[in-house]
């Protein structure tokens, strides 16, 4: 791909050498993204387990539990206990 212009050849050389470093930066970014994704998946699973534990605990107590949001809308309700 050499041209008659040494300066153009030099610029092409710089750019193509940079390309290797850019590829290496991209690989590092991809590895970081992969690690972040794995950490997110672990956290999601932890939260899911925790939520399940709370639901089981609340459902097993004798009283009914109702939670509402600031507008008074019911957001959580355990099964109504038998009278």
């Amino acid at each position: 791909m050499a041209s008659d212009d040494p300066e153009e050849d030099e610029l092409r050389t710089v750019a193509l050498k940079n390309a290797e470093s850019i590829l290496s930066a991209r690989r590092r970014a991809e590895r970081a993204l992969l690690a972040a994704n794995e950490a997110l998946e672990r956290k999601t699973q932890e939260l899911r387990d925790q939520r399940e534990w709370f639901q089981v605990s609340l459902s097993s107590i004798g009283d009914a539990v109702i939670t509402t949001d600031v507008d008074g809308m019911i957001t959580f309700l355990t099964r109504w206990p038998n009278a």
């Binding site: 791909m1 300066e7 153009e8 030099e10 610029l11 092409r12 050389t13 710089v14 750019a15 193509l16 050498k17 940079n18 390309a19 290797e20 470093s21 850019i22 590829l23 290496s24 930066a25 991209r26 970014a29």
Partner: protein
């Protein structure tokens, strides 16, 4: 309404150019009052065109859109690479001589004064990481590896864009005029892909919401009514260009010999989340377009680009290099007025008015 935005630069007032020339350095603090006046006057004139979005005309960018962020760095030398233009003249860029690489100034500094004068949304153009990547010399720098430079460059660019967004820039436009030059240097396309990769590495540091406020501008590189890469076919560029993770694209079109061919390529490669601002004004053409010409160019574009994704812009800034006097300020403002009026006419006809 069809959105319309300028690209960036407006020719500097003659007295500013003369004062810069007399002092020999455009960053001399004695120039500040002249810069302030130029910014104020440019914004007034741009607002008078009815432009819904403006810039500061890049009045303070010295010496050009490419090197403003590194001009005056102690670790650069003036003998970097050369950009040859079709008219025969060349522009030479600086070369990095030592690490670490840090910007001398971030473009958000220009927003400070401009935002005080502006009454409509203001956008800010910044240079792409791929353009600045060419500062690193072919033989390397002792004690400062190319990998380190690329990391520093990405961080500096991210900082600049973030600062512009935080200060309230309506849009941040990344100038990517070296895209076509990359194809010229390496027709295999590998270099262009590498540039796209580098720019995407920087863009991926932003949220998708931020990226909606970020755009990319591409053109054949204008200076003194000439270009450096007009001979590069858009077919070699557009498929890769639309891989960039931004919301808006500003694509030179008015100066193209076969606009319909380019529009068909845009239609084929743009994505649903993209807004494409097509160039309807050719800054390197001294003739002032009429609003009707602009209208017709947009009606033509609307046959290929959904109206909800269409915008209008200029092909390029009017003087990306601060000493360029090939276009007068009056001509630049008249052309912008034609763009604004013509875009309104097209919007009404297309039911978007």
């Amino acid at each position: 309404m069809i959105p319309t935005e300028p690209i960036g630069s407006i020719p500097r007032p003659t007295k500013l150019i003369e004062a810069v020339s007399a002092l020999g350095d455009g960053t001399d603090p004695r120039l500040d009052p002249l810069y302030d006046e130029a910014v104020r006057e440019t914004i007034e004139q741009l607002e008078a065109t009815g432009s819904p979005v403006i810039t500061d005309g890049e009045q303070r960018k010295y010496h050009n859109f490419w090197t403003y962020s590194v001009h005056g760095l102690a670790n650069t030398a003036p003998d970097g690479f050369r950009i040859p233009f079709a008219a025969g003249h060349v522009r030479r860029m600086p070369r990095l001589t030592a690490g670490p690489f840090r910007y001398k100034r971030y473009a958000d500094a220009y927003l400070d004064g401009a935002l005080r004068c502006a009454h409509v949304p203001l956008k800010q153009a910044v240079i792409s990481p791929s353009a600045l990547s060419l500062l690193y010399p072919p033989g390397g720098i002792a004690g400062y590896a190319r990998d380190e430079f690329i990391d520093d460059l990405l961080r500096e660019h991210e900082t600049e864009v973030r600062r512009c967004l935080q200060k309230g820039a309506y849009k941040v436009q990344i100038d990517f005029t070296e895209a076509r030059m990359a194809v010229k240097l390496d027709p295999t396309g590998n270099l262009l892909h590498s540039f796209i990769d580098l720019n995407n590495l920087a863009l991926s540091r932003f949220s998708s919401k931020d990226r909606q406020r970020i755009g990319v501008h591409t053109c054949p590189g204008g200076d003194r009514d000439s270009t450096h890469s007009a001979d590069v076919d858009y077919a070699d560029l557009l498929p890769s260009l639309f891989e960039l993770k931004v919301g808006s694209f500003y694509i030179a079109l008015a100066g193209e010999a076969d606009r319909v061919r380019v529009l068909k390529m845009i239609r084929d490669y743009m994505k649903p989340e993209h807004r494409v601002f097509v160039g309807v004004i050719a800054p390197i053409d001294p003739r002032i377009e009429t609003p009707e010409e602009v209208r017709d160019r947009l009606l033509e574009a609307a046959q290929y680009i959904p109206i909800a994704q269409l915008g209008a812009t200029d092909d390029c800034g009017f003087s990306p290099f601060s000493d360029d006097t090939s276009t007068s300020r009056e001509t630049a403002f008249a052309k912008i007025r034609a763009r604004v009026t013509g875009t309104e006419l097209a919007g009404k006809l297309l039911g978007a008015g």
